[in-house]
């Protein structure tokens, strides 16, 4: 028996796929149509949000004798909302992008069902309450993502996409092995049930090591990030936006969920994961600083920014409740801010590259005069990535710093400082190129106005989120913090 809220939730989850199939059949011509059709989804989630906080939304599906458990808590509802907003932006942008970049019509039409599938997969991951449903979401997400990456059809895109597929399959294998071990040892796949019976013995540890390895690979956490940058270099902009904003983070979400439930006290392992995160921040920042094409800068920046999320592990394991609360809020705020900002930044970078026809940084000379809006969007998005006020990145950094100081884990303060400085270095390297005045005159292509507007709104949302952070964070606190 499904209540109205449950029904609405599943409609909101499945709707993107249906809309995607519809768009495959009849590709949308105007951004407005996409915005109208997709705009209903966040509204539905907003309606569900207060109900999710009360813990009323959960249940199970029976498929061929297997029962799949799901639940919608405040965190998953907020992530769902975020996903829908980024989906809306990417879809609207994609319509403009098709008009400006002129890919073959039939190829572009295939983008829509893949996008729908991807969003469905993300939704499943947010609401999943057992390992099997998580697996289904993870696989669907991986396949859709690879499919989208292959769309441009160029040799380099196919090479990078197939490498991505290979990595994703290795990750899935590790995941399956881990799940099998857990099932064999504890006899259940449901997360709550598992958490109740599991003990930190050798089997659990091996299983967790396998699961973690697989997820780190899929989340492109240092040092397993090798597939990420080539994939983005050749992908379409709306695909990169969606992927950089959310796909890699879904794996992180699963990772933190599993650790919290199964091995909450493993301080050494958590410290090691934190160190990986710290290294990611530094390495990603350095590589972004040295990269010489715009898209590579943005992609490496994703590698670096993902590192901040990993700092949650050492700040959760074995720390005081107040520290854990701070770090918990900080991480999800950072994730949301980064998702919005990174999508905006990919789009702004895509606009700059489309308009100038150049992909190298030196090709940006003169853009501050000719393409001020795209550049401005890039800059506003960068404010969030640098963690400067009043952006979500800043508020998240404040919380993370507070958590680190309170728990005496000074190392993470150093990581935050160096990460910020490196981010500023690569961001301003880009902006600096745009200030150069003696530029060879390009023939700048004019883009549909919506293509500028969508990323600008996303970037402003990321900045504004820092000021209104109390709204999602209070929901998050009500929903229970580890």
């Amino acid at each position: 028996m499904m209540s109205a809220a449950n029904l609405l939730l599943w409609l909101a989850l499945v709707a993107p796929l249906l809309l995607g199939l519809l768009a495959w059949w009849r590709p949308p011509r105007h951004m407005r149509g996409v915005a109208l059709a997709g705009g209903v989804l966040p509204l539905a989630t907003l309606w569900l949000l207060p109900r999710a906080g009360e813990g009323a939304l959960h249940g199970s599906l029976s498929l061929a004798g297997l029962s799949l458990h799901w639940r919608l808590d405040a965190l998953s509802a907020l992530l769902l909302l975020l996903t829908q907003l980024v989906l809306l932006a990417s879809a609207a942008y994609a319509v403009g992008h098709r008009r400006a970049a002129l890919p073959p019509e039939a190829t572009h039409a295939r983008f829509w069902p893949l996008l729908g599938g991807l969003v469905l997969a993300l939704g499943l991951i947010w609401v999943a309450a057992d390992l099997l449903l998580l697996y289904a979401g993870l696989e669907l997400m991986g396949l859709c993502a690879v499919g989208m990456m292959l769309l441009p059809g160029k040799a380099e895109a196919i090479r990078a996409g197939l490498r991505y597929l290979l990595y994703a399959l290795v990750g899935s294998l590790a995941w399956l092995l881990g799940v099998t071990l857990l099932l064999g040892a504890w006899g259940t796949l449901e997360l709550a049930g598992l958490a109740a019976v599991v003990e930190p013995d050798v089997t659990t540890r091996i299983a967790m090591a396998l699961l973690t390895g697989g997820l780190l690979l899929k989340a492109a956490i240092f040092p397993l990030h090798g597939w990420l940058v080539p994939v983005h270099s050749s992908a379409w902009t709306p695909v990169s936006a969606m992927h950089g904003a959310l796909v890699v983070k879904a794996s992180f979400f699963i990772l933190i969920t599993l650790w919290r439930l199964l091995l909450p006290e493993a301080e050494t392992a958590a410290g090691a994961l934190g160190l990986l995160g710290g290294s990611a921040v530094l390495w990603g920042g350095l590589k972004a600083w040295r990269a010489d094409s715009l898209k590579q800068v943005v992609a490496w920046s994703t590698v670096g920014q993902l590192g901040y999320l990993m700092l949650l592990f050492p700040l959760l394991a074995g720390t005081a409740a107040s520290v854990a609360t701070l770090a918990w809020q900080a991480t999800w705020l950072q994730l949301a801010g980064h998702a919005l900002a990174k999508a905006a930044m990919f789009m702004a970078a895509g606009n700059l590259m489309l308009s100038t026809g150049a992909s190298r940084l030196s090709g940006l000379a003169g853009t501050s005069r000719r393409l001020p809006l795209s550049l401005m969007t890039f800059g506003i998005a960068a404010v969030t990535l640098m963690g400067l006020p009043p952006s979500a990145g800043f508020t998240a950094k404040w919380l993370l710093m507070q958590a680190s100081l309170q728990s005496g884990q000074w190392l993470w303060v150093v990581v935050l400082v160096l990460g910020t400085l490196l981010t500023a270095a690569y961001v301003f390297r880009v902006l600096r190129c745009s200030f150069v005045e003696e530029a060879p005159r390009h023939d700048f292509q004019t883009l549909p106005r919506g293509m500028d507007l969508v990323p600008l709104l996303l970037a402003l949302a990321a900045v504004g989120l820092g000021l209104v952070a109390e709204w999602p964070l209070s929901l998050l606190r009500q929903g229970g913090v580890p």
């Binding site: 001020p372 500023a424 005045e437 952070a469």
Partner: protein, 501 residues
């Protein structure tokens, strides 16, 4: 309603102006000019209204939570409104000057857009009600000044802008660490809640002292305390209105104002004195004053000499903060305003010499008093004020610093003041001598480097009038120092609030 309306409206004026300017096309010169001036005048009106209301005992504040236990607070108190008044007044003149200065140059939309963002941040800094809010606008100021320093896009400008960023962003992080540490220790301290820290026991004093110096290091970069001043002389490549902005209105002032807030409204003067922090501040300020004056003496170009003079003069504010007692406080607060008035005049003059005659080096100024009498007069007023000749405002600042030093029991500060005044005279008087007494091209000796005839008068009126206005203000602030609402009178009012319970 009006309690929250005014701070928000003051801030929103500049933010909205910035947003609209960015949306206007590059060619819409008239609309942009009108918007700029309209917003500047409106803001002065709003600030003046709050000054009036505050003196009648009204309160203006607005706040909302950003995180659990941390709020975004805008609040107009006596100290904040003083800085807001200074920046919005000087803003109007700088805007007029910039409109004239940048006539027919490219990228004016970008320039004025960030210019407005810059004033919005300065206002935010002055109205911020706690350190968190202060930091938000402090960093916004860094971001919005970068495009202004880099404006010309030459390799030199870009290098200076990069250096500026390195200094200020690092300082911002240092500041953030200090603020988070203080927040972790004591929670959200509103400016003026001096009792919170004063109640900490002796075992935590070490931590409090450490946090204080971390925060001073963060503020010290923008306040250009030696050895953190390196960015300021290099930023001289920026256009003259930007220099006026960096030196007089916004950036160095934001740093100095931060130190003022930290000592008076977070730690409290008495607690700072008890922790032994003030003497340290006075020593740092003295070193900065003397070192920068010596460096100024060595400069052969006009703008770098003025830049080092700024480094030295802003430290008078810090010195005043370091002198425990109401007189030192009055000196610090009034000099915050006085230095702004004098320095902006000097930079306007330097810009006028460069624009009209192409003069950059000091030895090219020979006889310029005859060719540009009003500019030279204004320059003389500013320079004599800096030296501290009565009845100009600089004299008042130095007088209160001297008496404040006696009150605080630090007579060695008087020696610093004497030496620094001598050095001020040594680097300003030769310029005045060249302006008025050396024969130059208008007497038939040599030629101007690059003479242009920009207007009916000695130069364009857009450049002339704001300069005359600020010169007049700096004379009046000295002559009418005893009148209500003069900088000195208002500074006395704030000092009384600090020391009288």
């Amino acid at each position: 309603m009006s309690a929250s309306f005014f701070p928000v409206a003051t801030l929103a004026t500049s933010l909205a102006a910035a947003a609209i300017i960015f949306l206007l096309p590059e060619g819409a010169v008239r609309a942009r000019t009108g918007l700029n001036l309209g917003a500047a005048v409106l803001k002065i009106g709003l600030v003046a209204w709050m000054v009036r209301g505050l003196s009648q005992g009204q309160a203006y504040a607005v706040e909302f939570p950003v995180l659990e236990g941390l709020a975004f607070v805008l609040r107009a108190d006596a100290l904040g409104i003083m800085f807001a008044g200074l920046s919005s007044l000087l803003w109007l003149f700088t805007t007029i000057y910039a409109i004239g200065y940048l006539e027919d140059s490219p990228n004016r939309r970008r320039f004025f857009g960030f210019f407005s963002l810059c004033v919005a941040s300065t206002l935010g800094i002055s109205l911020a009600g706690n350190l968190f809010t202060f930091l938000i606008f402090y960093e916004l100021l860094t971001l919005s000044t970068y495009p202004l320093v880099a404006h010309r896009g030459t390799p030199k400008a870009l290098a200076a802008a990069t250096l500026y960023l390195r200094f200020t962003l690092t300082a911002g992080l240092v500041l953030m660490i200090g603020m988070v540490a203080l927040h972790t220790l004591a929670g959200d301290i509103r400016f003026g809640q001096r009792e919170i820290l004063a109640e900490f026991g002796p075992e935590q004093r070490g931590v409090l002292i450490a946090i204080f110096w971390v925060l001073i290091a963060g503020f010290g970069v923008k306040a250009a305390l030696v050895p953190l001043h390196g960015w300021l002389p290099r930023a001289m490549v920026a256009p003259a209105p930007v220099s006026a902005l960096l030196h007089a209105v916004a950036v160095v002032k934001a740093g100095a104002f931060g130190i003022v807030r930290l000592v008076y409204d977070v730690y409290g003067a008495e607690f700072s004195q008890a922790l032994g922090l003030l003497t340290g501040l006075a020593v740092i300020a003295s070193v900065t004053i003397l070192y920068a004056s010596l460096r100024a003496l060595a400069q052969v170009e006009l703008k770098p000499r003025l830049a080092f003079s700024t480094v030295s003069q802003v430290s008078y504010v810090v010195l005043g903060v370091g002198l425990f007692g109401p007189l030192g406080t009055i000196a610090a607060l009034s000099h915050l305003l006085h230095q702004g008035l004098m320095k902006i005049t000097l930079f306007f003059c330097a810009g006028n010499y460069a624009e009209e005659l192409g003069i950059h080096r000091i030895d090219e100024l020979d006889g310029a008093g005859r060719r540009m009498p009003l500019t030279s007069l204004a320059f003389s007023v500013g320079a004599l004020g800096m030296i501290g000749v009565p009845p100009l405002v600089g004299f008042l600042s130095k007088w209160y610093l001297g008496t404040g030093a006696v009150q605080a029991g630090m007579p060695w500060v008087i020696a610093v003041l004497v030496v620094s005044s001598l050095l001020n005279a040594a680097y300003f008087l030769p310029i005045l001598y060249r302006l008025w007494f050396c024969p130059g091209p208008d007497h038939g000796v040599g030629t101007w480097p690059e003479e242009r005839h920009l207007g009916r008068f000695e130069t364009s009126s857009w450049l002339l009038l704001p300069m005359l206005a600020t010169a007049l203000f700096s004379v009046m602030a000295g002559l009418l120092a005893g009148m209500p609402f003069s900088p000195l009178e208002w500074a006395t009012r704030v000092a009384n609030l600090e020391y009288l319970p």
